[in-house]
Symmetry: C2
Subunit: 296 residues, 2 copies
DNA sequence: AATTATCATGAGATTAATTCAAGATGTTTT
DNA sequence: AAAACATCTTGAATTAATCTCATGATAATT
């Protein structure tokens, strides 16, 4: 294993220039350096690479073999290198997003649409895998960004705040609870609560509202789709707790009412968790900025 | 253009070892050297190549890209390098032979048959191109060996003597000249001379025998094939001058007589002309040795 | 024979790569 | 929680490889 790309580049230059001195210029070396380099190769392989006593300098079979190799290999290297540099400049890259909050689809989709317009070469993917733990996957490089509402102090992961939200109870506007200005945990004791089909641990209504008060709703129904949940609520089959960004649009167009949880409301902040070294990459910054504007 | 094969080799090792220290061993470096090397790459491309805070060390997208490149390119390089080394050791190579003397086919064929048995990987070719000048072509690398009977003092070409030969007149054994013990130029004045279809300049009968004496034969007929020439001679359609190695076998089996030209015979030596640097290559030496034995 | 064009060579200079020794950092063990 | 461990990083010193400079050699050209 002696060959280096430098040698291949030299051979291409020599073949093109048909003369060592000019070839040397082409690869930004002195004629002497090239001569030494070739000699080293000839030494190693034990065969001359070109005939010197011929006007348009001529490669020997061995020389031709290396030239051929160079012609095959170098363009590939060059292409890869260009790609890598673009990668670094951030023109291209990978953005595999994991979302912990189910409702985030609502704002994520328009954001991604906008994102793709500026960064068509970045490979975007959303992984709503319910099963896997997103943060370790982020640390391991399996995914590139996690949307999360509870930031941790990690030295390899940076949590970028995106925006605040308020989780509100949503119900039919004819619902009795619509008469209250805010909702207490006990109010849900006789209600059917409709949630996304995930563990309770990952639902703020339970962890931050009902469980602290020791309250269990009458029943829990689950639905995958936000639109379905809203339909069920509208048709009086139950109530749900959803973040305000979901409700903003939905309540305007239908007969739904929303009320804050507790007197002061249940507020939270959404974060984008990314690996620190990548947190400054242009397309990453741009995604975060877009998310902050939520596609408006 | 920063990348060198060294980098590709390192990346492959790192991926395989999943740990810098072990990877370093594999490429015969210290762990520190590898670290520096990787850092240089990361620096150049402006992107990390692998995640350090993960137990089985994991490549980033950029790292994977280089790894992929390495997997594509390195085997090709390795193959080419092996081939080149074999080339140098002479196990493989090219032997394009140009023959100046037409009759040489007679002994060359059996020699080449023997040669191919020992050097199956050497690409053999015979070029009896009547048109081109073989020595310049040899100097230019278009061909690799010239069979010639007149050596020159050239510093890039070596003339290796193969064997001596005698050019003799061949005729039907009933021919009147068969009564003479040797042939004088004037003897051919009334004869039809059968030759190979080449310029007179390249025929010894003319340059060394008839022209010095100012003699022109009655007629000249030409034939491409030695066998045909001998048939014509046997059927009394003329006489021919051929080297003894052709005649040895032929005269034994048919009613042909041969006589020396001039009292002392017209002798010559056959040479193999090769480029000096290649004159020591194993398969070249072997070819020359085989030619000297003329396949016996 | 002198001139020109080209490649080769050796010595010294320069640059790049590698090692060494110590330092960080994160993980596992006690 | 501290200690021990595994692993990568860093900076300085060393070594090795590569390059340049100046000149030599050779062959082709004038």
């Amino acid at each position: 294993m002696f060959l280096e790309l430098r040698h291949l580049r030299s051979l291409i230059a020599i073949d093109a220039a048909t003369n060592l001195a000019r070839a040397a210029e082409q690869v930004h070396l002195t004629q002497s350096a090239l001569s030494h380099q070739i000699k080293a190769m000839e030494n190693y392989y034990g065969a001359p690479l070109f005939l010197r006593n011929t006007k348009p300098l001529r490669l020997t079979p061995a020389g031709l073999k290396i030239l051929e190799l160079a012609r095959r290999v170098l363009p590939e290297i060059e292409r890869a290198e260009k790609d890598l540099l673009r990668h670094a400049k951030g023109e291209t890259g990978r953005l595999h997003i994991a979302i912990e909050c189910h409702a985030c689809f609502e704002w994520l989709m328009p954001v991604l649409d906008a994102f793709r317009k500026t960064w068509p070469e970045v490979e975007v993917d959303i992984r709503a895998g319910v099963s896997f733990d997103p943060l370790p996957a982020l640390q391991k490089g399996e995914i590139d960004l996690v949307i999360s509402s509870d930031p941790l102090e990690l030295n390899d992961i940076s949590f970028e705040p995106l925006f605040e939200y308020e989780a509100r109870l949503v119900m039919a506007h004819t619902h009795s609870l619509a008469n209250k200005s805010f909702i207490d945990p006990v109010d849900l004791k006789g209600e059917t609560l409709i949630t996304y089909p995930v563990r309770r641990q990952r639902l703020d209504v339970f962890t931050r509202f009902l469980q602290p008060a020791g309250i269990e709703p009458l029943a829990v129904r689950q639905s995958e789709l936000t639109a379905v949940i809203l339909l069920l609520v509208a048709s009086q089959r139950g109530v749900a707790v959803l973040p305000d960004w979901v409700l903003l649009e939905a309540t305007q167009k239908s007969s739904l009412a929303t009320r804050p949880l507790t007197q002061h409301g249940m507020h939270g902040t959404l974060f984008a968790a990314v690996r620190r070294p990548e947190s400054t990459m242009p397309f990453m910054r741009d995604f975060i900025d877009l998310a902050r504007e939520r596609g408006n």
